[in-house]
């Protein structure tokens, strides 16, 4: 039987899983083609045919929100995977090797850390030119530093732990040390940071799209959809509220999941 403390986690995992499934199978779930315009039916309020109404070109908002999940969630998760793995790897190498490798990589990360993250991303995305890929690249350029810092600090601490000496005295080889002692001990904090970061990354990607530096029209992306509907907030609020609510719900679910994961992975609780 499942321990009670795991139950909320299961709930959040199911919710996050459902979101990811919707994102993957989005093309099959949309009630209408999210790209087809119908100017006569533009800005129809939510009704039985269009559950979330239509936008200024008469496109079904629900279909665009569903389709937008694919762009937003998949791009965010992919981006997160890239910066988590690359950042942690760089950090672990710095922590284990030390010396010149450590100095060069860490000073490089210091340079990136000197910029406010979003400002740097806007500048980089602007310089690279718009588009979702460039927006993600801009965020990746600065995002890895955090994971490099975290995993380096963790590896440095773990290296000095008495249990590393004890493992050596137990006859464990270096691969065993890495698998049994180093990786499990840095995985918890890194995974939790990543889970808590999903929300931030979704918002940053949506933010860049909102500023016109991310997804290009007619690609349905939540941030871009909000930007397009911004001027109609008072007259046709559903155009903005639907993608806004989608961002809110998704970010909330992934944040709750990250929080719960942190509680569960902390064996001291």
């Amino acid at each position: 039987m499942l321990k009670p403390r795991y139950r909320p986690l299961i709930l959040y995992v199911l919710a996050a899983g459902a979101l990811i499934l919707v994102a993957i199978f989005a093309p099959f779930l949309t009630p209408y083609d999210p790209y087809v315009q119908d100017l006569q039916g533009a800005l129809t309020p939510p009704n039985a045919q269009n559950l979330l109404g239509t936008d200024r070109y008469g496109r079904d908002v629900l279909s665009r929100v569903i389709m937008g999940s694919q762009v937003t969630i998949c791009a965010s998760l992919l981006l997160l995977a890239v910066i988590t793995v690359s950042g942690s790897l760089i950090g672990a190498v710095c922590g284990l090797k030390g010396g010149r490798v450590d100095t060069i990589l860490m000073r490089t990360s210091d340079v990136f850390l000197a910029f406010p993250q979003m400002v740097f991303a806007i500048a980089a995305a602007g310089a690279l030119g718009g588009g979702l890929f460039n927006a993600a690249l801009a965020l990746a350029l600065i995002g890895w530093t955090k994971y490099a810092r975290i995993s380096r600090a963790l590896v440095l601490t773990i290296k000095k732990m008495p249990y590393m000496d004890a493992a050596k005295m137990a006859g464990t080889n270096s691969v065993g040390m890495l698998i049994y002692h180093v990786l499990p001990n840095i995985a918890g904090p890194v995974l939790v940071t990543a889970a808590l970061d999903i929300g931030t990354i979704i918002m940053e990607l949506a933010g860049l799209s909102f500023l016109g530096l991310g997804a290009m029209p007619p690609t349905p992306e939540w941030g871009a959809m909000m930007n397009n509907g911004r001027s109609m907030l008072q007259t046709s609020s559903w155009v903005v509220l639907a993608p806004g609510a989608a961002i809110f719900i998704t970010v909330a679910i992934f944040n709750l999941l990250g929080d719960k994961l942190r509680d569960i992975l902390d064996v001291k609780k």
Binding site: M161, P162, Y163, D165, A166, A167, K168, M169, A170, G171, T172, N173, G176, Y180, H181, P184, N185, G188, V267, K268
Partner: protein, 224 residues
């Protein structure tokens, strides 16, 4: 054969760069002997143990010779050292709680040292671990616990169990009682004495507690 020396240290000198940590260390101990090293803090007591255990960091330079069971182990290759570690020479740490990885159970970690040397099944391991646990008055359920759940005395006994699981010939104990209260100290000392009686193991122990040293030692080595 019983009078043969298990450990002989000759003219041991350890340097970190230009910094000399210890020099002219000479001693030997026989099988089943308890050898205690005393001396002031920072005098290099632990360095002697670490030299024997092969735990000195990369920056350290060892001169002189260390013979274990008739074999020179002063500068062993990593793979040769791994064969000795745990199986023939084991170590009990000052803070036994911290010598276990915090996110895995005690049993899983002790099994790790078994898996590195023997092909015992899990059942075989548990049978032997329970037998040793019983001998050192340790509740066998400790095997299923995480390190942070153990009291100081339990953790130290778990450390002794981890060191004894492969029945090594030599145990190095680095101030195993210094973090404990007087009552627990006494019981740990008793368990260490029992180890020799039951398993015939030799012990090199570092301490700054002269009472413990006097009570346990066959021979006391004072580090100046």
């Amino acid at each position: 054969m019983m009078n043969e020396n298990i450990l002989t240290v000759k003219n041991l000198r350890v340097l970190y760069g230009e910094n000399e940590i210890i020099r002219d260390i000479n001693f030997s101990l026989q099988r089943g002997e308890i050898f205690i090293i005393v001396g002031k803090s920072g005098g290099g007591k632990s360095t002697i143990l670490k030299s024997v255990a092969g735990l000195l960091g990369g920056g350290a330079k060892i001169e002189g010779q260390i013979f274990f069971d008739g074999r020179d182990i002063t500068n062993l290759r990593a793979d040769e050292r791994r064969k000795l570690a745990g199986a023939e020479i084991a170590m009990i740490f000052q803070n036994a709680g911290a010598s276990f990885c915090p996110i895995r159970t005690i049993g899983a970690q002790i099994f790790e040292s078994v898996a590195a040397h023997k092909d015992w099944t899990r059942e075989e391991f548990l049978r032997r671990a329970r037998a040793i646990a019983k001998n050192i008055n340790l509740d066998e359920n400790v095997l299923y616990e995480y390190p942070f759940k153990l009291s100081g005395g339990m953790a130290q006994r778990a450390g002794i169990l981890a060191a004894m699981i492969l029945e090594p010939k030599l145990i190095l104990a680095d101030e195993p009682t210094s973090a404990l209260d007087a009552v627990t100290q006494f019981s740990v000392v008793k368990e260490l004495m029992n180890l020799r009686k039951k398993y015939g193991v030799s012990i090199v122990m570092v301490t700054h507690n002269l009472n413990v040293a006097k009570y346990m030692a066959d021979e006391i080595y004072t580090l100046h």
